[in-house]
Each structure stands twice: as structure tokens, then as C-alpha cells.
């Protein structure tokens, strides 16, 4: 689910690719040295690899966390591919796609010099299961690997070696075998997540591990203070020869949490600091400065963040059980207005469907409702209303998080547009921190009569299932923390997901195109935006490019001009 990565993303408004970092590498260089100064208005959630969920933390973790696989440090589509990192090669998939076997490289070590074994990887995976202690991170591994065992995590493990998770085997110190219950083409992506990184059992400090996680990458954590920042220095036990992805150019990387984003922007523009690593883009004041100044503009990028902004129409709430009423809302909306509400073109392209660019199977031009024309279609809306049996409109409630200003603004925009066709929408701002129990509870949605829900979504990993399944697969409906707000449970769509799971990413893509179309035809969503951010970087940075897997400048290679 993208909700967590997206926590801060909304504060950003964004533009167009001005220079190449969104398309290619700029300032390619191998020069070493210097201090890379990263700032962020948002603190890291956890440095602990099993607990981190913020996108920018995953980016930072490229400095000190290695997992079996990792996204390649390449611009464009290549960056979305998982390639071997600690593993010698891509997994060997056998048993009808249900068994994944990997071998570790030689010479990979923890920062204390201990060689990394397959047990350490398994232990890392097991830590994910200890949600009672180590909450916060993604739990896909539990879903796939628990297989009814109810494994409680290593702290409550009865196995003397704490190696009680049955579905993962370590026949020797180099080999690790994952046994899935059913085929899953996305498993490689999960292996590329920091959750699958090794942790030395003897060095595990449980909940406090986040303060000093043991490094496996080019840098190690020198200091970390919650709310303030961290510094990373070179890890002498990292062998660049084992690492085809990371360059490890700066001598030192500092991460500073600021509370004043405008101050941060100013430092950024003046060259004091290198990068706002949260990746949500500059604030309005700096944005306008950049857009007005060609010199600044050339150091700025306006990449897709991988997010989509949308309204969802729960079909359990009347009259949204009627497709015509849903269509009426879609037609009545003013896409341009919605885009402006989010911050204008720099904040995203008008979105017409539910698969953002970059996700395999997406088609940006697919526009069944003519949304990219950017105009409200009142006549069609009225027609739809008539067809729905509510020619004079109806009343409904828009649910919106109170802590996301642009979402509130889009809700207001929609409200204003709907009013023109006679639909009276009330805006209900709920406590954004509680969304898993407010809009995440179908029962509550029904009770409150939320006919329209404003949300944003980004995938944790770059596949059509990673993106779409939680939103539209009926089997993903949960009593709490639900993301399938429309409550669609269509056997056909569910079936398509099942089939796609057994295919390779390339083969699966057309299935997702199809799912996307099915969903759009049902008029379940009103997409607002394919999200973009206006990101400025210090011109002294080298090897700058956006990794599409994170939607952020890839820290694995960034260096400083000497």
C-alpha cells in the first residue's frame, strides 16, 4: 500500500522534466569524496530495514542495506528491474513458480566484518513476523510465507536457533530457499525490498535496532537521533567488487531533519545543501521561484512519483451502487480545476485511468471519460443523472483526510463542480491518521455514507499487481485497513489477477491493461492526477537520475563534483 510512502508526498506540488535527470543520468562521474548533504522535512520512520516503509527511507537504505536482489541503479525502465545484489544471480524458480532458490555472493560482510550467511537473511525475513515488536514495515512476506504456521517471529520462536520459519530453508550458509504456497511472479520484487535484508541474530536489539542497524552497504550509520537526523560514514567492510549497483562516492552522507521546509528550499536553491531527499518537491514559494528563473529551472526535475490521486466511489453507498450516478460525478468533475487544486501541472498530469505511467501495462492515453480534455461535461453528467433516476441530483458525502491540504482542496473543487449539476456534496474531514479505521473500514464507510473518498496510491513495488490488486481485487477487501474502497468484488477481475500472478512481469503486463480497462468501464474511480513532484538538486551532484522504482533521485550512485 502506498499510503505510508505517501505521507508527505501531498505537501509537494510539482513541473515538467526540465533537465535530464528524469530521463537520463546527468553529470556522470566517478570522482570520490565530499559530504552529501541530504535534508528532509520529514523524519525517517525507521532505519531498521524490516520496519522502514517511507519511500525516501528505502532510498536512503540503498546506502547501508543490501538485500538478495535490488533495483538496478539505472534511469528509465531499467531501474524498475530487480537485479542480483547479495545473491549471485536472479533466483532459480522451480516447482511451477513456487520455489525460489538463491545463493549468496562470496565476500559479502556486515560492517563488523562478519560474513553474511543465508541464516542472516532468513533471520531478517523472520523479523518481519514479529509485528508486535517490530511494527511499521510492509508485511507481504508474512502473507506469502506464513502459510498457516502462525509464526510469531524470532523473539517468541521456540526453535533454539530462532530459525523456526518453515517456509524458508537454509540448506547451507550460502543457499536460501523460499517455498511459496502458490506461484507469485512478484516475489522477486519482495526480495528486493529492505525487509528481505539480512540481520545478524546476535546483534539484533529488537525494537531499538532502528537506532543502530548493522550495515551491509557502502556506508554505515555513525549516529542517529530521532527527529534530528543521522550521519553515515564509509563502511570499510563493504567490498565494491561484490556490488554492481552502488558506487559509494561521497566520503560521508549526512541526513538532517528540518522543521522549516521553506528554509530548506532556500538552502537548496542557494547551494548550501544537496537534496531534499523526501522527494516530494519544493514548497510553493520555491516552486514559483524556480519556475520563473531559467537558471534554477535547469537543476530541477519534474518526475512522476509513481502515485495516482483519485476519488473512489464505494458501491455500498447509495446512489453509487448505480453506475450512472458514478458516471454523473465523473462527468461533472472539472479535471483542470482538480489539477490546479493539487498545485497545477507541475504537481501531476491529468490522469484518465488508474494505472500510472511506469507500471507495466499502463497506457497514459487511455481516456474513457474524456478527462484529459480538462473540461467538465455537464451535459453528459445530467444525462447520466437522468439515467440514474436522479435528474435533480442527490446528496452525498466526500470523505477527506484533514492533514492533506491538496486533498481537501480537490474535495472542495469537486464539491463546487458537483453543485453545478445539482449534486450536493458535504465534505467530511476525518483524522487522517486514522484512515485505516475510518475509510479503511467498509462498515464505517457505509455507516457514514461516504459516497466519495479522496485518496492517493503508490505501489510498494513496480508491478501491476503491486499497484492495482489492493485497490480492485475483491479478495483484498479487509474489515480494517481496507484499500478496496469501492468494494468491487468482480470474479472476472479477481481471476485476471490470479492468472497474471503466474506469468513473468513482461507476460503479465497486458493482463493489467485489461484490468485497468475493466475497472474504468465500471466507473468506480475518478482519477485526478498522475502525481509529479518538482525536485531541485544541487548542481554539484554527479550521476543524478531518477530511479523509477522510488520516484526519487537514486542515492546508490550520487556523488559530488570535486
Amino acid at each position: 500500500g502506498g499510503d505510508k510512502k505517501d505521507d508527505k508526498a501531498d505537501a509537494a506540488e510539482s513541473g515538467k522534466g526540465y533537465s535530464g535527470a528524469a530521463e537520463g543520468v546527468i553529470n556522470a562521474s566517478d570522482a570520490k569524496g565530499g559530504e552529501l548533504k541530504l535534508w528532509s522535512p520529514q523524519d525517517v520512520d525507521y532505519l531498521d530495514p524490516q520496519r522502514a516503509y517511507y519511500g525516501f527511507v528505502w532510498d536512503i537504505q540503498r546506502l547501508y542495506v543490501r538485500s538478495l536482489l535490488a533495483y538496478d541503479a539505472k534511469p528509465g525502465k531499467d531501474g524498475t528491474k530487480a537485479v542480483p545484489d547479495l545473491a549471485e544471480a536472479l533466483p532459480v524458480v522451480t516447482n511451477d513458480g513456487k520455489t525460489y532458490t538463491l545463493k549468496l555472493k562470496d565476500g559479502v560482510k556486515f560492517e563488523d566484518g562478519t560474513p553474511i550467511t543465508s541464516k542472516d537473511v532468513k533471520y531478517g525475513v523472520e523479523r518481519v513476523f514479529a509485528q508486535d515488536v517490530l511494527s511499521g514495515g510492509p508485511t507481504y512476506l508474512i502473507d506469502l510465507l506464513d502459510q498457516g504456521q502462525k509464526y510469531p517471529g524470532p523473539y517468541k520462536d521456540t526453535d533454539p536457533d530462532k530459525m523456526g520459519l518453515k517456509s524458508v530453508q537454509t540448506p547451507d550458509d550460502k543457499t536460501i530457499v523460499f517455498n511459496l504456497a502458490s506461484a507469485n511472479a512478484d516475489f522477486s520484487y519482495l526480495l528486493a525490498m529492505p525487509t528481505s535484508s539480512p540481520v545478524q541474530a546476535s546483534k539484533d536489539t529488537g525494537a531499538t535496532y532502528t537506532n543502530k542497524p548493522l550495515s551491509t552497504g557502502p556506508y554505515k550509520v555513525e549516529s542517529f537521533t530521532a527527529g534530528k537526523g543521522a550521519t553515515f560514514v564509509r563502511n570499510e567492510n563493504w567490498d565494491p567488487k561484490t556490488d554492481p549497483i552502488r558506487k559509494g562516492l561521497p566520503d560521508k552522507v549526512s541526513f538532517t531533519v528540518t522543521t522549516n521546509p521553506d528554509d530548506m528550499d532556500q538552502r537548496l536553491l542557494s547551494g548550501d545543501i544537496d537534496l531534499a531527499i523526501d522527494g516530494t518537491g519544493v514548497q510553493q514559494a520555491a516552486k514559483n521561484k524556480i519556475l520563473k528563473d531559467a537558471n534554477l529551472k535547469k537543476n530541477a526535475d519534474n518526475p512522476f512519483t509513481g502515485y495516482i490521486r483519485y476519488f473512489a466511489f464505494p458501491t455500498t453507498v447509495a446512489p453509487f451502487d448505480n453506475i450512472e450516478c458514478r458516471k454523473a460525478v465523473i462527468y461533472a468533475a472539472d479535471p483542470k480545476s482538480l489539477q490546479t487544486a493539487r498545485g497545477g501541472p507541475t504537481s501531476g498530469d491529468l490522469g484518465a485511468n488508474m494505472l500510472p505511467p511506469g507500471v507495466p501495462g499502463s497506457d497514459k492515453s487511455y481516456d474513457p471519460f474524456g478527462l484529459t480534455k480538462g473540461k467538465p461535461q455537464e451535459a453528459k453528467a445530467k444525462e447520466a443523472l437522468k439515467a440514474c433516476g436522479k435528474p435533480d441530483g442527490f446528496e452525498t458525502t466526500i470523505a477527506v483526510r484533514n492533514n492533506k491540504a491538496p486533498e481537501v482542496k480537490t474535495a472542495e473543487s469537486l464539491q463546487a463542480s458537483l453543485a453545478k449539476v445539482g449534486i450536493k456534496a458535504t465534505i467530511d474531514q476525518y483524522d487522517g491518521k486514522l484512515n485505516s479505521s475510518v475509510i479503511g473500514s467498509p462498515e464505517n464507510v457505509k455507516k457514514k455514507g461516504y459516497g466519495i473518498i479522496v485518496m492517493g496510491w503508490g505501489a510498494d513495488y513496480n508491478s501491476g499487481s503491486g499497484f492495482l490488486q489492493p485497490l480492485v481485487d475483491g479478495s483484498f477487501i479487509l474489515p480494517n485497513g481496507n484499500n478496496n474502497y469501492t468494494m468491487i468484488n468482480d470474479p472476472e477481475i479477481n481471476g485476471l489477477f490470479k492468472t497474471a500472478a503466474t506469468k513473468s512481469p513482461e507476460e503479465a503486463a497486458p493482463f493489467y491493461t485489461q484490468i485497468n480497462q475493466k475497472v474504468m468501464e465500471k466507473a468506480l474511480y475518478l482519477p485526478i492526477n498522475f502525481d509529479k513532484a518538482l525536485v531541485y538538486h544541487n548542481p554539484r551532484l554527479t550521476n543524478v537520475f531518477f530511479n523509477e522504482s522510488f520516484g526519487k533521485i537514486d542515492l546508490a550512485t550520487v556523488g559530488i563534483k570535486q
Partner: protein, 330 residues
């Protein structure tokens, strides 16, 4: 008996002693009338008063005014906004003959109508919260001061306690705790109700203290004693003897608590605990202006100055009223 020796009134211009002069005006000049006369001479306070009345009229006739001079406050006009920058097209925040105070950045709503409608929120919240504070404060303050003893003890402690609470924080917290719909009421109405109750509730100890102090000092006056010596009970003394004398301080305090409430409401809206969108509110406009004020200063200036002028007007009027009602004043 003591009739004047000589009736000198014919020749003596305005002697101080009324007894010696046959009554020309039988009607006495009540303290209220005197205050009003004094107030009428205070041009500054009158100006404040006129502005206050204008504001109230604006709030009452908001729909009419907007119909005549503005646009629907919730209508978007993106065509007036620079899509990249989000700022209004045109200079000075898009001020034009059509949009008297410009338009909102991002969505182009008519600032003028939003200010006009915002006056409703500000004034309703401020007045009703003042009403709550004044009713609670006068009642409990008078009770504490008049009865004394343990009643006073309990009420005074309560006031101390409330004053020890970090009020703004508590108000924000309470406002955000209260759910959206209460007893069938929904939306902005509920939020306003909560704002009124909470602001009003935290405001009463201030007036409570004043009224209590006044009551204690009035209680010792000889005319209270006189009433008692005529057989008056507590109720009579409180209602007939004390209350009329408490009216002046209460009135003054009311006019002075209203601007405070306006500021509090604006501050709460500013901090995100005010009324809900799309209802317009001055404080909300200011907080919306924060990220963009370097590019669109007008959007900050308009609500800021509106709040300023409103609060100033109430303060001027309240100050003048206080001077006019001050028994020591000349």
C-alpha cells in the same frame, strides 16, 4: 420647613443644587443615558461602533451583498489562476472591478464574497461564545461573590483551574475530538457549535473573576445593607440591587471579549481547527495564504486587514464604552 428662603432660580444660571430649582426636567438622567451622552461625544468610539454595526449588517445581508457585488463564494474560477504558479492572474491578487478583493490562489474563488461570508462565521462564533462566557461568568461570578463561603471557594478554584489549562491547545484538541455529526447535526454547524461552546467555556473565568470582584465590593455597599434592613432577601438583593450595577462592567467586558473571540476563532481556523471547508473563514484564508504569501501577498493582506479592522473596531468601541461607563470619568 426647609423650603428655600428665596427662590433664586430665576436669576441664577444653573446652580448645582437641584433641590433649589423647580424641576424643569422631571425625567432623570439615568447613568445609562449619561454614558450614552458621553459615548456620543467620543468620535473614535463611535467610529468603532459604526464599523461594528456595518460588519453586523454585512454578515446579515451577506447573500444580498454577494449577489450584488461578488460571486458565489464557493465557485471556482481556475481561468483566473496561473496554472503553473497557482497565483491569480493580474496584479494585486487579481483585484478587478469584477473581483473586488481579488481571487484565491489555486482555485480562484472570489475573495470578496468569502470575506463577506467569513464575517458571518467570525461574528456568530464571537458573539455566541461571548454570550456563553458572559452568561456563565456573570452567573457564577455573581454567585461566588454574593454567597461567598464554600460556594465562592469552589467557583474560584474552578476558575483558577480553567485558567491554568493551556486553553488554545485544549480548544484545538477538543474541537478535533468531537465527531462530525452530533445529535443529527452535521458539518459546519456542529463545528461552529463546538467552537462556540469551547471558546465560550474557556472565556467565562475571566468575566467570572471580574463579576465576582465587583459583586464582593458591591455587596459591602451601604445600599445593600439598606435593602437588607428593609427585609430584602438574597434574591432581591442579587437581582434588584447588584445586577443593575453589574450591567456596566459586564457590558464593557462583553464588547472587549468579542474581539478576543474573533481572534481566537481566527487563530483556531489558522491552526486548522476552525470551521470546515468550503465554509469560508478569515483565519482559514490566512493560513491558506502562508505558503504562497511571497507570491500573492494580497491574499494574506485582505483577510489579515479584515481581522485587524474588525477587532480594532470592537476594541475602539469597547474602550469608548468603558470610558463612558466609568463612574470616575468626567
Amino acid at each position: 420647613m426647609t423650603a428655600p428662603l428665596h427662590d433664586t432660580s430665576a436669576e441664577t444660571p444653573a446652580p448645582v443644587s437641584v433641590a433649589d430649582v423647580p424641576a424643569k426636567a422631571i425625567e432623570g438622567r439615568s447613568p445609562g443615558r449619561i454614558a450614552w451622552m458621553r459615548l456620543r461625544r467620543d468620535k473614535v468610539a463611535l467610529t468603532g461602533g459604526v464599523v461594528v454595526i456595518l460588519l453586523i449588517l454585512v454578515a446579515i445581508f451577506a447573500p444580498l451583498i454577494v449577489k450584488l457585488l461578488g460571486h458565489d463564494p464557493n465557485e471556482f474560477h481556475e481561468d483566473l489562476i496561473d496554472p503553473d504558479l497557482g497565483t491569480p492572474l493580474g496584479s494585486l491578487g487579481g483585484i478587478s472591478s469584477d473581483y473586488l478583493l481579488g481571487v484565491e490562489p489555486t482555485n480562484g474563488r472570489d475573495v470578496f464574497s468569502r470575506i463577506v461570508y467569513g464575517a458571518r462565521i467570525s461574528l456568530i462564533v464571537a458573539f455566541l461564545a461571548a454570550f456563553v462566557s458572559v452568561v456563565l461568568g456573570s452567573f457564577l461570578g455573581a454567585l461566588a461573590g454574593f454567597i461567598g463561603g464554600w460556594v465562592d471557594g469552589v467557583i474560584s478554584r474552578l476558575m483558577d483551574l480553567l485558567l491554568a489549562f493551556p486553553q488554545l491547545l485544549f480548544t484545538i484538541a477538543l474541537v478535533s475530538v468531537v465527531p462530525n455529526s452530533v445529535w443529527g447535526f452535521e458539518g459546519s454547524g456542529v463545528r461552529m457549535g463546538v467552537l462556540i461552546l469551547v471558546i465560550g467555556f474557556f472565556g467565562w473565568p475571566y468575566i467570572g473573576r471580574i463579576v465576582r470582584g465587583q459583586t464582593i465590593s458591591l455587596r459591602e455597599r451601604e445600599y445593600v445593607e439598606a435593602a437588607r434592613s428593609l427585609g430584602a432577601g438574597r434574591g432581591y438583593i442579587l437581582v434588584k440591587e447588584l445586577m443593575p450595577n453589574l450591567v456596566a462592567p459586564i457590558l464593557v467586558y462583553t464588547t472587549l471579549i468579542i474581539p478576543t473571540n474573533i481572534l481566537t476563532e481566527a487563530a483556531l481556523s489558522f491552526l486548522g481547527a476552525g470551521v470546515k471547508p468550503p465554509t469560508s473563514s478569515w483565519g482559514k484564508m490566512l493560513s491558506d495564504a502562508v505558503p504562497i504569501y511571497q507570491d500573492d501577498p494580497m491574499y494574506m493582506v485582505v483577510p489579515g486587514m479584515t481581522i485587524f479592522i474588525t477587532v480594532l473596531a470592537f476594541n475602539l468601541f469597547g474602550d469608548g464604552l468603558r470610558d463612558a461607563l466609568d463612574p470616575k470619568g468626567s
